[in-house]
């Protein structure tokens, strides 16, 4: 017992001495005017993280030889529910693994192209001073590995991406990520750090069209994105994947934009950025509402969260957020602070995906889905998805509608009385006074841009929910009503 205690004391003493030594040494440490002169000692393997996480801060560590091993994988994933897409990735995620370095590090970069991959790739790191940002030296065939080294000279947050021809296609498929070069002594400590990167995607089918969707080069050239998302897919930062913090904490977001085409007007609904490291560089702006992040650029934003709630991250080019997927969530837990915000918390009206626009079609042509529902279960599943995209905003989650404005679909006498009339309302729209469950409504429902298949699915879902009469609506029934028109 006694010996144990002594040894503990000794350790403490030793620790104290060594701390003193370190601090003595530190005070003598020379400031290097020229980053290229910073010496490195020791070698370490870099910690790489998949989004939304970032590796441990560099803190006070000295410049080192840092070994980065990055594997390229071409792999299938889901861009939104039911929509498959082949991503090309650095490290198996979109965006690619986060690399964290400090100024003066000598990075030995290993780029490994998985043997199953079909294409050669390379990497252009914007943090590299040298031709092609490393692209020439890293051009690697499938089943091979290339190694090159560089010294990090300028602190900042930088994009890396694949630069193999056709560059646009490689980037459009997800080949981008962020590398952080921290200044001497590291960035000031904060409570939470996250990694978010926006990207635009171009698929053969329109937004939400189910099944495997190949890349569409023409849409990419025309800059007509089907999806604009954070972290590679519509739901990467929503629901269970939301990022989180506690009231009173300071949150730092490393935000990049891979493009390939669109610039981001990055905004967090209900927050003001206390600090923005503009374009990821040294310039710090304060009290910013929305910061512009160019394609192939980045920014560091910081803010203290004062009140609980769900804060929505968006590209404030707002149709991208609500109709193309550029939406994420930050959940803040803790005590209410009514001095700062007294209102009730409201969430759920933001639609993270889907063609929720109420717009009159310009032509009569609406393309049928290539993947029709095989059975009633699938009809219900697809129908629910359409309902959440198209009907939810007015008729609400449980079909309860909104009093005096939008009639209920739950236990609706109007609905259950006449299926053809219901079909007609969806395909032709409905205007004028109607009575539903004894109440009068006089409002406008626009004609919906849905295919016959989709109308059948969504109505089947509605008829089989919330106490309605379980009618199964088929495509043929819808076509019949269309014919009468």
């Amino acid at each position: 017992m006694k010996t144990l205690k002594t040894s503990t004391l000794k350790t403490i003493a030793l620790f104290a001495i060594s701390t003193m030594l370190v601090s003595c040494f530190k005070s003598k440490e020379t400031k290097y005017e020229d980053s290229s002169q910073i010496p490195v000692n020791l070698e370490m393997t870099a910690e790489l993280t998949a989004p939304p996480h970032v590796p441990t801060p560099v803190g006070k560590r000295k410049a080192k030889k840092l070994i980065v091993k990055m594997e390229i994988k071409e792999q299938e994933g889901e861009i939104t529910e039911g929509v498959r897409y082949v991503y090309w990735t650095f490290g198996g995620s979109v965006p690619g693994s986060f690399i964290r370095t400090r100024v003066g590090d000598e990075v030995e970069f290993h780029l490994q192209n998985h043997p199953d991959n079909k294409l050669p790739h390379n990497i252009d790191l914007h943090a590299v001073t040298g031709p092609g940002g490393g692209a020439e030296s890293s051009f690697v065939a499938p089943g091979h590995e290339k190694v090159f080294s560089f010294k990090t000279l300028n602190p900042g947050l930088y994009v890396y991406h694949c630069a193999t021809a056709p560059v646009g296609m490689h980037i459009a498929n997800g080949m981008y990520g962020l590398i952080l070069v921290e200044p001497e002594g590291g960035l000031p400590p904060v409570d939470k750090e996250y990694y978010i990167m926006q990207g635009d995607f171009y698929t053969k089918g329109k937004n939400g069209e189910r099944g495997f969707q190949p890349f569409d080069m023409q849409k990419a050239v025309d800059e007509k994105a089907d999806y604009v998302v954070f972290n590679g897919s519509v739901s990467a930062l929503t629901g269970d994947n939301a990022i989180s913090a506690n009231v009173g904490e300071t949150v730092r977001l490393f935000v990049g934009n891979g493009g390939p085409n669109l610039v981001s007007s990055f905004h967090v609904i209900g927050e003001i950025f206390d600090k923005v490291y503009v374009e990821g560089g040294d310039l710090v702006n304060e009290n910013v509402q929305t910061t512009l992040i160019p394609a192939g650029g980045a920014a560091i934003v910081e803010f203290k969260v004062d009140v609980p709630g769900t804060f929505i991250l968006v590209d404030h080019s707002i149709f991208r957020a609500f109709n193309k997927g550029a939406l994420g969530m930050l959940r803040v837990q803790g005590e209410e602070n009514e001095k700062i915000y007294s209102g009730e918390q409201y969430e759920g009206i933001y639609l993270p995906e889907g063609p929720g626009i109420q717009e009159m079609p310009t032509t009569g042509e609406i393309v049928e889905s290539k993947v029709p529902a095989k059975n009633i279960d699938e009809q219900l599943e697809f129908g629910k998805r359409i309902y959440m995209q198209t009907c939810f905003a007015c008729h609400q989650a449980e079909g309860q509608g909104i009093p005096n404005a939008f009639p209920p679909l739950a236990k609706s006498d109007y609905l259950n009385a006449d299926v053809d009339r219901a079909i007609s309302a969806v395909i032709n729209g409905l205007t004028g006074e109607i009575t539903v469950n004894g109440k009068k409504y006089n409002s406008v429902m626009t004609r919906q841009m849905l295919s016959s298949e989709e109308v059948a699915d969504v109505l089947t879902y509605v008829y089989n929910s919330w106490g309605n009469n379980k009618t199964v609506v088929t495509k043929e029934m819808v076509d019949k009503v269309k014919g009468k028109k």
Partner: protein, 259 residues
Amino acid sequence: MFAKAFSLTSVFLVFHALGFTQAEGMVNIKGSRYIPLYGRDSTVVEVKDFQIDKYPVTNIQFSEFLRQYPKWQKANVLKLYADDSYLRQFKNGTELINPQSGNSPVTHVSWFAAKAYCECQGKRLPTVDEWEYVAMADEVSPDARRKPSYNQEILAWYETPRTDEKSIGKSPKNYWGVYDLHGLVWEWTLDFNSVMISGESRKDVDKDSDLFCGSAAIGATDLMNYAAFMRYAFRGSVKARYSIKNLGFRCAKDIDVNP
């Protein structure tokens, strides 16, 4: 009429000269002048009449070659001619690890081995210009490069994983009667690392001809170039001893002037 007779004769000659028959033989390609897929300022190249294999060389066919020429077996091959991935789908000798893959195109094969295979049959690898010339046909026309459907299909293939495991001859033949130029595997060409890529695309920064950001963007006049850029980028990334999972080959042959 004359052309047909000529073609029959030459096919006969090919079989006769070889002793070891390529099951589905070759087809005649009528040469011409054309502008290859790359860039705006590309010059016209001329392709003379030649013959090319209908199908990519399969695992079974390559296994037969290994039996006849054991020096190309995995255990015996010179390291100078093949890297560590060479013939990964074979056990040590001539036997496939997965016997089901006999009709899949042979891959994990170096340029040296591919070249030797063709030469042992009195053939050679096709040149880049020849290969691109045959590959620009779709089912109905010899030059489909301006058709969006043609390009879309090729690009979709470049994105689809594991196509090397498919069997040959399952998709329609092209205008010339040649199968599977797109859709299964990349193919070696005799001069894969010449012309504009010249092996320097990985190094030089001065030339406009390299295939990185700038030049790809400037040269890409329309969609058709993108598919081509990917092929040229691929060719630029490989060396002759590389043996890659998605890279196979087929052989070509000059048309004999003397009967």
